[in-house]
Symmetry: C2
Subunit: 405 residues, 2 copies
């Protein structure tokens, strides 16, 4: 073995942290723990019979195609279908197939965006809090993350304007603004259209790209769908990310980026050297699944499933949670956020929760600036429905014990 292994890692590698979620999740693997950590879809949401049917068809009719290498841009059938049926028709987005590349799920999309835009020390703007996987991907390219607090309508446009103005005064410009407008991870907050418009106007005024990450968009339980920021712009100022991980299954590892074709070109070049192509096998199964019209009814089933889980979780909160614990009921997605009295540190409390056989993700993991010590992310999609009330009860007991200290 070489003598100086510890010294030869890249600056990026030395900067990497093992995901806090991941390390904490290891503690929650025992079957008697009710885990509200993680961000897994419910196994019951997977369309097993339909996937099995499509898979057999694909293996019988086009095995040589699906088992071979594919193009870096992705399966043309899948791209066409997404562009025409989903984004042009449903979302009113002015795009063609040149504006869409398939990625190895949206985590790869975040990594490739980091790769093509971020030089070490470059500033980017992120929500406080924001998706941990996005923060990690950007951090590995050396992003200097400037956090903007959220209110109940998402990223605060007043603070965003202030920050962009201050940066401009210093002749600085962030590489992009990273937002998750629909049922944000971790807060569950959805930006109303007026706020999306404000963010877009600021991006235009200050000449900055927006990264619109939207993995949960189709999982709306109530209220009106809000236009995508991409569709409010349609000029290429916005880069939008989508995925099948939450509406079909994560196991296929399929996501996509929609962007100006010059940006897609750069992502193609980056992806080529990163994993050559996403599995043509899982891509073609997904494409045929969409063609058969299975997606719409399945999404409806899953929306009903997750709505009932969320309703039960909220009613359990109301029943068990002590005063001083607050939450906002999300209109969709997989997550909600609990805010505890300020003196409670959810990381410090975590081991006691695990002892009581319940788990969550500590809020600080989502804050680029280390805030959020008294918050936690709660996932409501994964736990069995008969475990939710009991899990909330256990969690409330841990919190009550903390409050009594």
């Amino acid at each position: 073995m070489i003598s100086d292994l510890e010294k030869i890692y890249s600056v990026s590698a030395n900067n990497m942290k093992r995901s806090v979620i991941r390390e904490l999740l290891k503690l929650t693997a025992e079957p008697d723990i009710i885990s509200f950590a993680g961000g897994l879809p419910a196994p019951a949401s997977f369309p097993k019979d339909e996937i099995r049917e499509v898979m057999l068809e694909v293996m019988d009719k086009e095995p040589d195609f699906v088992l071979q290498y594919g193009t870096t841009e992705g399966d043309s059938l899948l791209r066409k279908r997404l562009v025409e049926h989903q984004y042009r028709t449903v979302e009113g987005m002015d795009i063609t197939e040149e504006n869409l590349i398939i990625t190895t799920a949206s985590q790869q999309a975040l990594d490739l965006i980091g790769k093509i835009f971020i030089n070490w020390g470059d500033k980017i703007i992120v929500g406080l809090p924001s998706y941990l996987g996005g923060l990690s991907a950007f951090r590995n390219y050396g992003a200097d993350m400037v956090g903007i607090e959220l209110d109940e309508h998402g990223m605060r446009s007043d603070l965003l304007e202030k920050t962009l103005s201050e940066m401009k005064a210093k002749n600085e410009k962030p590489k992009f603004i990273y937002v998750i407008p629909d049922f944000q991870n971790p807060t569950g907050i959805t930006m109303p259209e007026y706020r999306r418009k404000e963010i877009l106007d600021l991006a235009r005024k200050f000449d900055v790209l927006i990264i619109e990450d939207s993995p949960y968009r189709e999982l709306r339980f109530e209220g009106e769908s809000q236009k995508t920021i991409y569709s409010m712009d349609n000029t290429g100022q916005v880069v939008m990310l989508g995925t099948f991980s939450k509406i079909l299954c994560p196991g296929f590892r399929i996501g996509w980026v929609i962007a100006h074709k010059e940006i897609i070109n750069k992502i193609v070049m980056a992806k080529q050297a990163t994993d050559l192509c996403t599995s043509p096998f899982t891509q073609r199964i997904a494409a045929r699944y969409l063609q058969k019209g299975f997606m719409e009814s399945r999404i409806q089933l899953n929306v009903d499933l997750y709505r009932s889980k969320l309703d039960l979780m909220i009613s359990s909160f109301e029943k068990y949670m002590p005063d001083g614990v607050s939450w906002v009921k999300p209109e969709g997605g997989l997550f909600l956020f609990l805010t505890l009295p300020e003196h409670i540190d959810t990381q410090e409390m975590f081991m006691r929760a695990v002892e009581k056989k319940v788990a969550y993700v500590i809020g600080t993991a989502f804050y680029a600036n280390g805030m959020g010590k008294n918050t936690m992310r709660i996932n409501f999609s994964y736990s069995d429905i008969d475990k939710i009330e009991e899990g909330v009860k256990r969690l409330s007991e841990v919190i009550k014990e903390e409050l009594a200290k």
Copy 2:
């Protein structure tokens, strides 16, 4: 759209080139072209019936597992199987599951190795010529590639020693030495054990890691298997890369890295933010496929198939190629390398070859230093057996015309 898109890309993105192979391949998509370019396995090599059988079993018995997120390290069944049956037993490598991570095919392994080791401007050592996808992956992290010429036994140890000594005198050390010992891409050359030992001894003497990329190792048509450099070391000085792309199918996107567990730890962290996990669906199908013992007989079938294609190609070369064109018959793999008289530029000749309906990859694409203008890579695995002689004939005519100029 923002006003300065061209200016906001990262240094890495500005440095990226569209793959030469890829651009040239676009010209070869017409069905009447006989293409010796690309590096695709033959569709006839895919075990379609066996995959179909295993896939159905997996979907019937463990759908919730395969459709869900998986761990970043990879499917434990697959890792265990590879470690115990392949590497410990067959290859005599002293490893446990902690030494192996599954990647989204070996291109991702190359990317992650770049990510954890290379800072902008770091030197690495590569063969002249060497696998284009490796060069691209490392280039995107800013590697300064120091090329070492090959002879008929692979990377020249005398030149390697000279280079390492010169670097040492300047207080420089490369991050690693990148080699492809078995049926190298693009030359088809295999390093005999004595040469592997020399390279390893130099790596030890100069305290440098070796990256041993071995995607074709199992596809040996003749001669004796040569020990892996990893097994000649077994201390962690070597990082070895493997893949199912050439022995099962590329469409599953499954590869792996074998390394010291500290290096695997870093790769796990890097992969987490890169694509979270490789498809648990394709991983589990591969694991069950191995468990059923399908792999060994399939490899034998494919070795027979590729050997017959190679034999036909070599006899066609002998029949048609003019004096001054030389090649070395490989003992396995997918590729061989043609060297033409020095004044012929294969890039300049390429369009005339396409007009004659035959294609290859220009040699310069594989040379980090721009050499190899009179060389080309020829793939013999993909073309139908009834096209090989005709393709060689066409290629020989193009070369003869160049010689007659």
